[in-house]
Symmetry: C2
Subunit: 327 residues, 2 copies
């Protein structure tokens, strides 16, 4: 790859002029511009991101932190992020933390090292203190998952209300015994969705039974299946279950199949996220749709504002229920 010096020599001008042709063409004469452009084309020159970054301290790269790439929930958000980022002349670096603090440190160092211009964090397992501390120096926004802290901006949905509406929908269908498959409540969205569940049941004077609530340790199909197994094994079992994530719901659905239970007649099921799978399983899963693509693209816009040094307001986007055939 040719360097700026070679281009300068070839075009018979100084390196400064070449740099100007690239960055501020107005400052150079048409004739000179032409010569330089020609040299650039001839030598197949591309400015070195490294040299430029070292000098300007910007890489036009974002870090996107997520716990695991295999969770399909993130796929769509990433799509929104990617498209918006590219449109704005940025690229993204997908960073899978696997909920491993050591890996998190590596990625945080990348921004300290100016290898990236900003961070979009979607990782619920992220070290909140460190993230907050980092956010005082570097542009950071949170997407979907967030820490309640007013220095950190976020874009998310109202999980509590969504859960409330989902459970209310089950109640309206006549269910009186409603179970919950939740994720570890140390995650904000899990505790919020729990509160929505609780609120709906209380409002209709229905029983909140600890035996009908199962908190999973992991967010995968098996955990959902395991949860449903436990719920089914009870003498007095629920007639409907709200799962705080489609991944869990899909796993639960498998357990229902294994037990030959008719869905929704013998057991109704409500998921959350509207991942692609949710419409492919049988019967198609009733769920809560988050505006995933928008969340992604908005978080990029917020990050860009931050980079420009503007104040940015956090956003709570609208969700909606998608009633399919499991309820």
């Amino acid at each position: 790859m040719a360097t700026i010096q070679e281009v300068a020599k070839y075009a018979g001008v100084s390196v400064a002029t070449v740099s100007r042709v690239i960055n501020t063409p107005d400052k150079v004469r048409k004739h000179t511009q032409f010569k330089v452009q020609n040299a650039i084309r001839e030598l197949n020159y591309e400015p070195s991101v490294l040299g430029r970054s070292l000098r300007t301290s910007q890489t036009r790269l974002f870090l996107v932190l997520l716990p695991s790439i295999s969770n399909p929930f993130y796929a769509q958000i990433i799509n929104g992020i990617q498209n918006k980022a590219i449109e704005s002349g940025y690229n993204i670096l997908l960073c899978e933390t696997d909920s491993d603090p050591a890996r998190e440190v590596i990625f945080f160092n990348m921004i300290k090292n100016k290898l990236a211009d900003g961070i979009i964090s979607m990782d619920p397992t992220v070290n909140k203190e460190r993230l907050i501390e980092l956010s005082t120096k570097y542009p950071i926004v949170q997407c979907s998952e967030y820490a309640k802290d007013n220095t950190l901006s976020y874009v998310t949905i109202d999980s509590e209300r969504a859960a409330y509406q989902a459970v209310k929908h089950l109640i309206k269908l006549g269910h009186k015994k409603i179970g919950l498959i939740n994720f570890d409540k140390k995650f904000l969205y899990a505790s919020e969705r729990y509160r929505g569940y609780e609120k709906a049941l209380k409002e209709f004077d229905l029983e909140i039974k600890d035996d009908w609530i199962y908190n999973t340790k992991h967010l995968n199909f098996e955990s959902g299946q395991q949860a449903m197994r436990v719920l089914l094994n009870q003498a007095d079992r629920p007639t409907a279950v709200f799962a705080v994530s489609d991944v869990l719901a899909v796993g639960a659905l498998k357990e229902l199949h294994i037990n030959q239970l008719r869905v929704p007649e013998e057991m109704a099921l409500f998921g959350f996220d509207n991942i692609e799978f949710s419409n492919v399983v049988y019967p198609p899963l009733t769920t809560v749709a988050q505006p995933m693509y928008d969340m992604g693209s908005i978080s990029v816009q917020m990050l860009m504002s931050k980079i420009r040094g503007e104040e940015v307001e956090s956003l709570v986007l609208d969700h909606h229920l998608i009633i399919r055939e499991t309820t």
Copy 2:
């Protein structure tokens, strides 16, 4: 973030000495080492990747090219890549090309710009000529998908044999009318799996009927569903279908549900890839398992060898059939 100059000043030595303490500690006295280490700790110094890269031309970063992050097939491979890479002191940059040549160019430029030390390509839509040309100058390996070219190394499986075995399994179960849901045959694996299908049918003197073969344009659930719809709409329809990808198979399965066909009694289904989801659908999908994790970790080892300038041999790994309940 402190710079090497500040550390040098604080420790009362030259920048060269600081650099030596970090890179070749044997060359500096214990006492000096101690002073410098202390300064590094005090100032919370981390070497700038940018400065270092500019000088040494290595970033310890890999590019991983894939068409789409939402295809669960890649999740496990990436896991293998990520773990092996981190173990070797490298990080990976996940690059979603969305099969868009313009985006591909961006990522290729990153390696020309020395922003990354190597590329692992898993993208079947990649521009093969450009990849081959690039591979003469930069370390590149292909994972799973590959171009037949002896300058380009790859790690993959024997798709033709796997397809042959899968179809043979269906034949052994007594099926005489076997359909195929394939992906666009311009992709090598699609044409190889087709050949395996063809070979098995020919061997047992079974009919290869064009009406029973559907090539999808995209690799997603809907395409699989659409394919099965077409196959079902025929007067004389197959009793078993081999889909070259689980994603297609799962979509096809949905169409079977919609049509209330019993699986496998009225229609058997054989997938390919063993994605996590294949064991969650109902009934669990019979499929071909690729050693995805290994493919990922091996491709990193191959890439590292290439970076060290060693000759590397391409590898064809073993697959195996996972017989579940759709056959």
